[in-house]
C-alpha cells in the first residue's frame, strides 16, 4: 500500500522535474544568440528527472526493507508487550494477527491478546508511512535541486544522461550474474551443512539411496545417502536414452531442412520445430506418464517381462528425447547452414553426391557446432524436472535395464524438499547437495559447449 504511494510519488516528482528542467533549458535556448545549447532541452529534462527518480528508488528499496522492523519495534514498546509469550512462533502469530487487522486485511482477531496490539500497529504504520513520504520528498527535492542548479547553456547533459543510462544497462546485465552467484552461494552454504552431517565420500560414491526424514537428525545413517543411483538414473535417462532419441532425429531433421527441403517447406517446418521447444515440460510429462509409460509396460508384457514397472526409465527418457529434438536440430541446422557454400560447391564439383557431401564435408565441418548443441541439450535434459517427476519413479535403482523404474537427481530434490522432514534434517539438506552437484555438472557442460562454439566461429571468420 504505502509502497505503491511512494513509487507513484517518485514518478510524479520525476515528471515534474522533467518538465521544469525542459522549460529551463528552453529559456537558455531563447536567450542564447545562436539558439544552440551544448545539449538538447530533453537531455536536460532527463538529467534532472533521473537525479530525482534514481535516489528515490534507492531510498524506497532500503526503506521497504527497514520499515517493517521499525514498526514492530515501536509496537513492542507498547505496554501490552510484557504479556506476549516469549516463544517465537506464538509471539509472531499474535503480532501478525494484529497487523492484519490494522492494515484492514482481516476483520477481527482470534487471540484476545492480539486486540491489544491493533491500535499500536495502526499508529506505528501510519507514523512510518508519513516518515517514508516525507523522506521521499526531501530526497527528491535535494536530488532535483542539485541537478537543476547545474543546468547551464553549456552544460553537457547529454553525455551525463548517456552515462547514467549505460550504468542502468550495466546493472540490468549484472542482475542475472549476481543472481547466479547468489544461488551458488546459498547452495554452497546448505551443501556444507549437509556435508557436516554426512561424509561427502559416502554421498558421492555410495550406492544405496534411502534417506529417512523421520530418523534422528543428530545421527544420520551415512550409508543411506549414497547418491550414485541418482547420478546413474539422471545420466541414463537424460544423457543416454534421451540422446539416443534426440541426436539422430535432431541431426537428420537438420540435414533434411538445410540440404533437401525446398524453401517453402523449410519456412514452416523450422518454426514449427522451434515452437516445440516452447511447449511447457509439464505437458510432455502428462504425455510420458499417461501415454508412453503404459504403452511401454504393455509392450514389455508382450515381450515376456514378468513384472514390468509402469514408471520406466525408458518412458521418461523417450519423451525427454523428443523434447530435446528442437535444441539439437536448431543448433545443428545453424552450424550446417554456417558452413560456407564454397565447401559444398567444392565437393559437388568433385563429383560427390549430395549425400556424400553431407556426410563427408558438411557434417564434419559443422561438427563443433553440433557437439555444442548436443552438450547444451544434455545439460538441459539432466536438469529437466517435470517429465521425470511425472514419468520416472522415486525408487533409486542402480540398473542398466531401461524398463526398470529409476529416479533422477531432480526428482529426489523435489521429493526431499516437499517431504515431511524438518528443514535442518540431513534428508532435506541432501536436496541442496544434489542441487549443487547438478549445478556444477550443467555449468561445466555449458562452459565446454560455449568454448567449442567459440572455436568453431573462429574457424570461418
Amino acid at each position: 500500500m504505502s509502497l505503491t504511494i511512494l513509487l507513484l510519488l517518485a514518478l510524479g516528482l520525476g515528471l515534474a522535474g522533467w518538465l521544469a528542467a525542459r522549460a529551463r533549458a528552453w529559456t537558455f535556448r531563447k536567450a542564447s544568440p545562436t539558439g544552440r545549447l551544448a545539449s538538447l532541452p530533453s537531455y536536460h529534462a532527463w538529467y534532472v528527472a533521473l537525479w530525482i527518480v534514481l535516489p528515490v528508488l534507492v531510498f524506497i528499496a532500503i526503506w521497504s526493507a527497514v520499515a517493517p522492523g521499525l514498526v514492530t519495534q515501536s509496537v513492542l514498546a507498547a505496554p501490552a508487550a510484557d504479556q506476549l509469550p516469549a516463544f517465537g512462533f506464538q509471539r509472531q502469530t499474535i503480532l501478525n494477527e494484529a497487523r492484519a487487522v490494522a492494515t484492514g486485511a482481516a476483520q477481527g482477531v482470534f487471540n484476545p491478546l492480539a486486540r491489544e496490539f491493533v491500535e499500536p500497529y495502526r499508529e506505528a504504520l501510519s507514523f512510518y508511512n508519513w516518515i517514508g513520504i516525507a523522506a521521499t520528498l526531501v530526497i527528491a527535492f535535494l536530488g532535483g535541486a542539485f541537478a537543476f542548479l547545474r543546468l547551464k547553456p553549456d552544460f553537457t547533459a547529454r553525455t551525463r544522461v548517456e552515462r547514467i543510462v549505460m550504468a542502468i544497462l550495466l546493472g540490468a546485465s549484472l542482475v542475472a550474474i549476481l543472481t547466479t552467484i547468489g544461488i551458488f552461494v546459498s547452495l554452497v552454504f546448505e551443501t556444507l551443512r549437509f556435508f557436516g552431517m554426512v561424509n561427502p565420500i559416502d554421498f558421492l560414491f555410495g550406492t544405496h539411496w534411502a534417506p529417512d526424514p523421520m530418523s534422528n537428525p543428530e545421527n544420520p545413517d551415512a550409508t543411506r545417502y549414497g547418491a550414485i543411483p541418482l547420478f546413474w538414473g539422471t545420466l541414463f535417462i537424460g544423457a543416454i536414452i534421451a540422446m539416443i532419441v534426440a541426436i539422430p532425429l535432431g541431426l537428420m531433421s537438420a540435414v533434411y531442412l538445410t540440404q533437401y527441403a525446398n524453401p517453402r517447406l523449410r519456412a514452416w517446418v523450422k518454426p514449427t520445430l522451434e515452437i516445440l521447444a516452447g511447449v511447457p515440460t509439464v505437458v510432455y510429462g502428462y504425455f510420458a506418464a499417461l501415454t508412453i509409460a503404459p504403452a511401454i509396460r504393455d509392450l514389455a508384457v508382450d515381450l515376456g517381462a514378468s513384472n514390468p514397472s509402469s514408471e520406466s526409465a525408458l518412458a521418461a527418457g523417450l519423451v525427454m528425447g523428443v523434447m530435446i529434438i528442437p535444441f539439437v536440430s536448431s543448433m545443428a541446422d545453424d552450424s550446417i547452414a554456417a558452413v560456407p557454400q564454397s565447401m559444398r560447391d567444392g565437393s559437388l564439383a568433385m563429383g560427390a553426391t549430395t549425400n556424400e557431401t553431407i556426410r563427408r564435408v558438411l557434417v564434419p565441418a559443422a561438427l563443433p557446432g553440433i557437439v555444442a548443441g548436443v552438450m547444451l541439450a544434455i545439460s538441459r535434459a539432466i536438469g529437466e524436472t517435470m517429465i521425470v517427476v511425472m514419468a520416472a519413479s522415486t525408487a533409486a535403482n542402480l540398473s542398466a535395464n531401461p524398463l526398470d523404474s529409476m529416479t533422477t537427481v531432480t526428482v529426489q530434490i523435489v521429493a526431499m524438499l516437499t517431504g515431511e522432514g524438518s528443514f535442518d534434517h540431513p534428508a532435506t539438506l541432501s536436496a541442496f547437495a544434489l542441487g549443487f552437484v547438478l549445478f556444477m555438472v550443467t555449468l561445466g557442460l555449458n562452459f565446454i559447449a560455449l568454448r567449442v562454439v567459440k572455436r568453431f566461429r573462429e574457424a570461418y571468420e
Partner: protein
C-alpha cells in the same frame, strides 16, 4: 548480333561444344545463345567485364548451375559428342570428368592428404592405402605442391597460404583424373607471386587436360591461353586464337574492351 568466330581455328578437335546455349535465372536471361567449341589440347580463356555471364557459362559446362534452383539451361552442350543435359545423364560422372577450381580457394577443413584423397575415395579410383598414397603424391606433384607439403600431409588444408590452398584445390581436381578442368577466376584472391605460380602450373597442365579459365585480367588471358572468347552482356562477342584476339580483333567491342575503353 552474331558471334564472330575466327576462321583459322580448324586445326582443333573439340572436347566440349556448346550450341545455342541460353541460361535463365528465373525470367532473366543471363546467357544468350552461345555456341563455342572447347579444344582438347589448349587453354581457353573467357574474358569480359563483370556480369557479362562468363562465369555462368563456365558453370553450365559441368552443370554446377544445377545447385541454383531458379537456373535453367537451353541448347546443347556436348562432351565428346554426348549431350550432358540429356535426361539420364549422370551428373556425378560428368563432374568427375569435368573438374572445377573456384574463385576463392575452398579446401575442405580436413588434412592435406584427405583433401586430395576425397575424390579418389568417393569415385573408388584407388584400392588400398598404397594406391591412394600414390594418387595423392602424383596429384600434388602435378600441382607443384609436393615439395612444399610432403612433410606435413596430415596438417589441415586450411592452414596453407592462399596460393598453396588454390594449388591444393587444383591438385584435388586433378586427383580424379578429369578430362576438362574449369577454372573460375582462380587467381583473383591471390597475390602476384602466387598468381605467377598458378599460371606456371596451368602452362604445365596444358596439353594433358582441356582447360577453360575465366579471368578478369587480360594480361593473364594473354599469358596462359591459346584461345580466347570475349563475352559481353550475356553474349559471346568474339572467339579466336588468343594472339589474334589481342592483336587483331575483328569486332569493335572487343577492340574497345582490350584497349581498356570499358570494363
Amino acid at each position: 548480333m552474331v558471334t564472330v568466330v575466327h576462321e583459322n581455328l580448324e586445326d582443333t578437335d573439340a572436347k566440349m561444344s556448346a550450341r545455342d546455349v541460353s541460361v535463365y535465372y528465373g525470367d532473366k536471361k543471363a546467357i544468350d545463345e552461345v555456341s563455342i567449341d572447347i579444344p582438347t589440347r589448349y587453354v581457353t580463356a573467357f574474358i569480359g567485364p563483370s556480369g557479362c555471364g562468363k562465369s555462368t557459362f563456365l558453370r553450365t559446362l559441368n552443370r554446377m548451375n544445377d545447385t541454383i534452383p531458379s537456373a535453367r539451361v537451353e541448347g546443347d552442350i556436348m562432351l565428346d559428342g554426348e549431350d550432358i543435359y540429356k535426361s539420364g545423364m549422370d551428373v556425378v560422372q560428368l563432374r568427375a570428368r569435368v573438374g572445377m577450381v573456384f574463385q576463392k580457394p575452398n579446401p575442405f577443413p580436413k588434412s592435406i592428404y584427405e583433401n586430395i584423397a576425397y575424390g579418389p575415395k568417393i569415385h573408388g579410383l584407388a584400392e588400398g592405402k598404397d594406391e591412394l598414397d600414390a594418387v595423392v603424391e602424383k596429384s600434388l606433384r602435378r600441382a607443384g605442391l609436393w615439395e612444399e607439403v610432403k612433410d606435413r600431409l596430415q596438417d589441415s588444408g586450411t592452414a596453407l597460404s592462399g596460393g598453396q590452398q588454390q594449388r591444393l584445390c587444383i591438385a584435388r581436381a586433378i586427383a580424379v583424373d578429369p578430362e576438362v578442368i574449369l577454372m573460375d577466376e582462380p587467381c583473383s584472391a591471390l597475390d602476384p607471386i602466387a598468381t605467377a605460380k598458378i599460371e606456371e602450373l596451368i602452362d604445365e597442365l596444358n596439353g594433358r587436360y582441356a582447360i577453360v579459365i575465366v579471368t578478369h585480367s587480360m594480361q593473364q588471358a594473354a599469358r596462359v591461353s591459346q584461345r580466347t572468347a570475349f563475352f559481353h552482356l550475356g553474349k559471346m562477342v568474339e572467339y579466336g586464337r588468343t594472339s589474334d584476339i589481342f592483336t587483331n580483333p575483328l569486332e569493335q567491342r572487343t577492340q574497345d574492351y582490350i584497349t581498356g575503353r570499358y570494363g
